[in-house]
C-alpha cells in the first residue's frame, strides 16, 4: 500500500506544470508555461507569412522555426510521459494535433524525402505548419475564462466612463468638424476675399478644430456666409465642450460617491457561471469573504437587493469580483436580467421574514429548477413548507448554534475545531467528497485510512463514506463507519460511492469531471 512518493512527485510536478492551468488548482508556473506556449504557437504561425514577405530574413526565421520545433517536440514528449495512459495517449486527438504540428518542419529537415526535392513540396509543408493553430484547442477553456473576464472588464469600463455617450459626442463633433471645414473651405473659396486661411483645404481643418474645441475665433472668414457658418460652429463647439466637461465631472462625482460601495453591475454585462445572492443582511460581508476565500476570487458574485448599491464596504479586495444589482429580487425583470439560467448557485439571505425568502426561492425555482438554491431562514417550520423543492436547501442557523452550545459543554474545546472546519482559508481544513482512487476499489474503509496515512503528496484523512445519489450530495453517508454496527460488506469501497475526507483544499487526487464543473456540482477554488 505504500506509495513510491519520490517517483510520483516528479511526474506529478511535471504534469501539474505541463497541464492546462486551472485557477487556484495548478501552480502559477503552469500559467506561465501556458502563456509561453500560446505565444510560441502564435509566433511560429506568424513565421509562415513573414517568410513569404521578407525572404531576406529567411535565415533568422529558420533558426526561430527550429527553436519552436524543438520546443514542441519537448512539449509532445513531456505530455506523453506525464499522461495517465501512455499507450493510449499518442492516439488522442490533441496528441495527433501536436504531432502533426511538428511533422512539417521535421520533413523539411529531412533532405532524403522525395517530395521535398521540389520547391512546391517545401512550400506546401511550410504552409502546413499553420496546423499549429489547432493547438489552441487545448487552451480553449483557459482562453475562454480570460476572454470572459476581459469582456466583463471592458463592459464595466464602458459603462463607468460612459464611453457610449462620449463616443456619440465625439462622432457628432467629428462630423461637425469635417462638414464645417469643408463648407468653410468651399464658401471662402467661392465668396471670400483672396488669401484667407480657409482657402487652404488642410488649414481649414486646423482652424475649424480650434474653433470647435477652444471657442477662439483666431482667423475669421472674410465672407458673410463664412461668418455665419463659423458662428454656428462656435455654438456647436461651446456645447460640445460644455457637455464633455459635464460628463467628466459627473463621472468623477459618481466615482467619489461610490468609492466605498460595491460596484453596480453594468447593464450590458451578462454574467455566466456566477453566484447570485438575493437579499441583504449583516452577514453578507463575511459570507462573500468566505466564498471568495474558498474559491480564490475565481467566480463573480452578483448581489441583488434594492439597497445593493448603498452597501458600504471596507476592504475593496474582497469585492473585486462582486457586482451589485440594485433592484427588487422579486421583480420578473430583475430575475430575467441576472441570468439565472447560467448561474452556479443562488443564495437567498433572510431579510425581514421567512415568507419573503421563500417567495424568492419559488421565483428562482420557477425559472431554473436545476440550480442549487440555498435559503437562510429563521423559523424551523419553513423547512417543512419548502422541503419538496429538491434543488433547494434551507438552513436554520439557530439550530447549529444550539447544537454547538451543547457540544461545547459536553465535549470541551470542540467549538474551535468546528469553527476551523467551517472556515475557508488556506490554513484550515474542510470536508470534501472525493472519488475512490482506483487502487482502493474493492478494499475496505480501513485500507483507505492506511492508504492516506502513508500518502505524502497531500494531507487527507478519510472520515466516512457517502452513498448519496449524484444530485443529492451528503444525504446518505456514514461518518466513522467503524463506530456503527453496520454490515462489513457496506464498508467495502465501491466505484459508485465517494469518500468523505478532511483536507486543506480540494484534493488533487480527485479526478474532476468537466461536466460536474460546468454544471456547478463542484466549484473550483479550494
Amino acid at each position: 500500500m505504500r506509495i513510491d512518493s519520490e517517483k510520483k512527485t516528479i511526474k506529478t510536478h511535471l504534469k501539474e506544470i505541463i497541464e492546462i492551468y486551472k485557477p487556484n488548482e495548478s501552480p502559477k508556473i503552469s500559467l506561465y508555461v501556458d502563456i509561453f506556449l500560446i505565444i510560441s504557437i502564435i509566433v511560429s504561425c506568424l513565421l509562415v507569412p513573414l517568410e513569404h514577405y521578407y525572404p531576406k530574413y529567411q535565415d533568422i526565421f529558420w533558426i526561430l522555426e527550429l527553436f519552436f520545433m524543438y520546443l514542441f517536440v519537448i512539449e509532445y514528449f513531456l505530455r506523453w510521459y506525464t499522461s495517465s495512459n501512455r499507450l493510449k495517449y499518442p492516439f488522442t486527438a490533441l496528441a495527433i494535433i501536436d504531432l502533426v504540428a511538428i511533422i512539417p518542419t521535421i520533413l523539411v529537415l529531412s533532405s532524403n524525402f522525395i517530395i521535398l526535392r521540389t520547391f512546391r513540396g517545401i512550400r506546401l509543408l511550410r504552409v502546413l505548419r499553420l496546423i499549429r493553430l489547432l493547438k489552441f484547442l487545448r487552451y480553449g477553456f483557459l482562453l475562454y475564462l480570460y476572454i470572459i473576464d476581459l469582456k466583463i472588464k471592458y463592459g464595466e469600463i464602458k459603462e463607468r466612463y460612459r464611453l457610449n455617450n462620449i463616443g456619440t459626442l465625439f462622432i457628432f463633433s467629428g462630423i461637425a468638424w469635417i462638414l464645417g471645414a469643408n463648407i468653410l473651405y468651399l464658401t471662402e473659396k467661392s465668396f471670400g476675399s483672396e488669401n484667407t486661411i480657409f482657402q487652404n483645404y488642410w488649414s481649414s481643418y486646423w482652424n475649424t478644430i480650434i474653433v470647435l474645441i477652444s471657442g477662439i475665433e483666431d482667423k475669421e472668414p472674410t465672407s458673410f456666409l463664412g461668418k455665419i457658418e463659423i458662428t454656428i460652429l462656435l455654438i456647436i463647439g461651446i456645447c460640445f465642450v460644455a457637455v464633455i466637461t459635464g460628463e467628466i465631472i459627473s463621472i468623477l462625482i459618481k466615482r467619489l460617491q461610490n468609492i466605498d460601495k460595491i460596484r453596480v453591475k453594468p447593464k450590458s454585462i451578462k454574467l455566466r457561471n456566477h453566484i447570485i445572492i438575493l437579499g441583504y443582511n449583516i452577514h453578507l460581508y463575511n459570507i462573500i469573504k468566505q466564498i471568495n476565500s474558498a474559491l480564490d476570487n475565481n467566480y463573480y458574485i452578483l448581489l441583488v437587493s434594492e439597497k445593493a448599491d448603498q452597501i458600504k464596504i471596507d476592504h475593496k479586495d474582497d469585492f473585486k469580483k462582486v457586482f451589485a444589482y440594485p433592484a427588487n429580487p422579486l421583480e420578473p425583470s430583475t430575475l430575467n436580467h441576472i441570468n439565472l439560467q447560467e448561474a452556479f448557485r443562488v443564495v437567498i439571505l433572510s431579510e425581514n421574514s421567512d415568507n419573503s425568502a421563500l417567495m424568492k426561492m419559488v421565483a428562482v425555482y420557477s425559472r431554473n429548477s436545476q440550480i442549487p438554491i440555498l435559503v437562510e431562514i429563521k423559523d424551523e417550520e419553513s423547512i417543512l413548507k419548502a422541503s419538496f423543492l429538491d434543488s433547494s436547501e434551507l438552513i436554520v442557523n439557530r439550530h447549529f448554534g444550539e447544537q454547538l452550545l451543547s457540544q461545547a459543554v459536553l465535549n470541551e474545546g470542540v467549538t474551535i475545531i468546528y469553527d476551523s472546519l467551517m472556515t475557508f482559508s488556506k490554513d484550515t481544513n474542510e470536508f470534501y467528497r472525493i472519488k475512490i482512487p482506483s487502487e482502493l476499489i474493492g478494499k475496505t474503509f480501513q485500507d483507505a485510512q492506511l492508504y492516506f496515512l502513508d500518502y505524502e503528496i497531500e494531507s487527507i484523512i478519510p472520515i466516512g463514506i457517502d452513498y448519496s445519489p449524484e444530485n443529492e450530495p451528503f444525504t446518505k453517508f456514514y461518518i466513522n463507519p467503524l463506530g456503527l454496527n453496520i454490515d462489513s460488506e457496506q464498508l467495502v469501497l465501491k466505484k459508485d460511492c465517494l469518500l468523505i475526507v478532511i483536507a486543506f483544499e480540494r484534493p488533487k487526487i480527485d479526478y474532476l469531471n468537466q461536466e460536474d464543473l460546468w454544471k456547478g456540482r463542484i466549484l473550483l477554488g479550494t
Binding site: 440555498l374 442557523n397 444550539e402 452550545l405
Partner: protein, 265 residues
C-alpha cells in the same frame, strides 16, 4: 420541573444562565447524550412562563431543574452549586436586546470568579465582541452570526454539507461527534502516525483527525518556561507533523460515536 433548594448537593452538572428560544433544543440535546443534570437560571419568571415554546419536551424530568433569580446573585449561584458544576452556558438575555453581549460577558466572568474550574460557554450576538472575550477567561464562545456566515458559504460551495455538520454536532448517541480527550500515560511518546496506524489496524471505532499541544512560552516576568497557552491545534497533520511525539498534557482530536477511553488503546 421547578424545584427550589434542590441543587445544593449537585456535582458535575450543567448550569444554563438566561433563557431564550435556544434553550429548549439545548436541554434536549444535552439530555439526548446521557443523564446529565441541567439547572436553568431564569431572571424573569414571566419571560419563561409566557414563552411555552421555549420549554423542553423530550427531556429527563429528574435531571432538569429551574431556578428564578439573577446569575449575578451569589445566593442564586450557591443554590445551584456553582462550585461543583461541570460547565455553564450563558445565553443571551432577550430582555437586554442588542446589547446582551455585555451582560452575558459579565455573567460568565462572575461564574469564572466563583469557580475558575467551571467550563464556561457563552453565546455571543455580535462577532465584533469576540476579540474582547478572547482576552478574558471565558472558555468558549459561540457566535450565531459567525456560524450562519460560515455555514452559508460552506453550503454554497458544497451543497448538502450542512448535513455533515448537523450529524457531527448532534449529541445523539447514534451520531458521531468530535472529542478532544487528553492524552493518557499509555500513549506518551508515541508519534501521531504510530497512534493513527494502531487505531486503524486494531479497528478501534475512532478516527483520529489531529491533536493539540501547548507551546512552551517564555514568561519574561517569571524568567522561566511555562507550559501554558498558546495551544497549537494541528488538524490533519502534514508530513512532518505526523512524526510529532505526544507529551503529557497534549490532547487528541477524535471522531467517535461515544466518549473514547484512551486507556484501552
Amino acid at each position: 420541573m421547578e424545584r427550589e433548594n434542590f441543587a445544593r448537593n449537585l456535582t458535575e452538572h450543567i448550569i444554563i444562565c438566561n433563557c431564550n428560544e435556544k434553550v429548549k433544543n439545548i436541554i434536549e440535546e444535552i439530555h439526548s447524550s446521557g443523564d446529565i443534570v441541567v439547572v436553568l437560571i431564569v431572571q424573569k419568571k414571566e419571560l419563561w412562563e409566557n414563552n411555552s415554546g421555549w420549554h423542553p419536551i423530550k427531556y429527563n424530568k429528574n435531571s432538569f431543574f429551574i431556578i428564578f433569580g439573577s446569575p449575578f446573585n451569589s445566593d442564586v449561584l450557591q443554590s445551584v452549586a456553582i462550585e461543583s458544576a461541570k460547565a455553564a452556558i450563558i445565553l443571551s438575555d432577550p430582555l437586554e436586546g442588542e446589547h446582551a453581549d455585555a451582560i452575558s460577558t459579565l455573567v460568565a466572568l462572575n461564574i469564572e470568579y466563583k469557580n475558575p474550574r467551571v467550563h464556561t460557554v457563552m453565546e455571543l450576538l455580535h462577532s465584533i465582541n469576540r476579540e474582547h472575550l478572547n482576552r478574558m477567561n471565558v472558555d468558549e464562545v459561540v457566535c450565531l452570526g459567525d456560524i450562519s456566515e460560515k455555514l452559508i458559504a460552506q453550503s454554497c460551495i458544497s451543497p448538502g454539507i450542512k448535513n455533515i455538520f448537523k450529524n457531527l454536532m448532534s449529541a445523539s448517541k447514534d451520531t458521531p461527534q468530535i472529542f478532544v480527550p487528553e492524552i493518557t500515560d499509555n500513549l506518551l511518546g508515541l508519534s501521531y502516525k504510530e497512534l493513527a496506524k494502531s487505531i486503524i489496524e486494531k479497528k478501534y471505532p475512532y478516527i483520529i483527525i489531529g491533536f493539540i499541544y501547548f507551546r512552551m512560552v517564555n514568561s519574561s516576568k517569571i524568567g522561566k518556561f511555562l507550559s501554558i497557552d498558546p495551544k497549537i491545534i494541528v488538524m490533519n497533520p502534514i508530513k512532518e507533523q505526523k512524526n510529532y511525539q505526544f507529551k503529557k498534557g497534549d490532547k487528541l482530536i477524535l471522531i467517535a460515536h461515544k466518549k473514547p477511553d484512551l486507556n484501552l488503546l
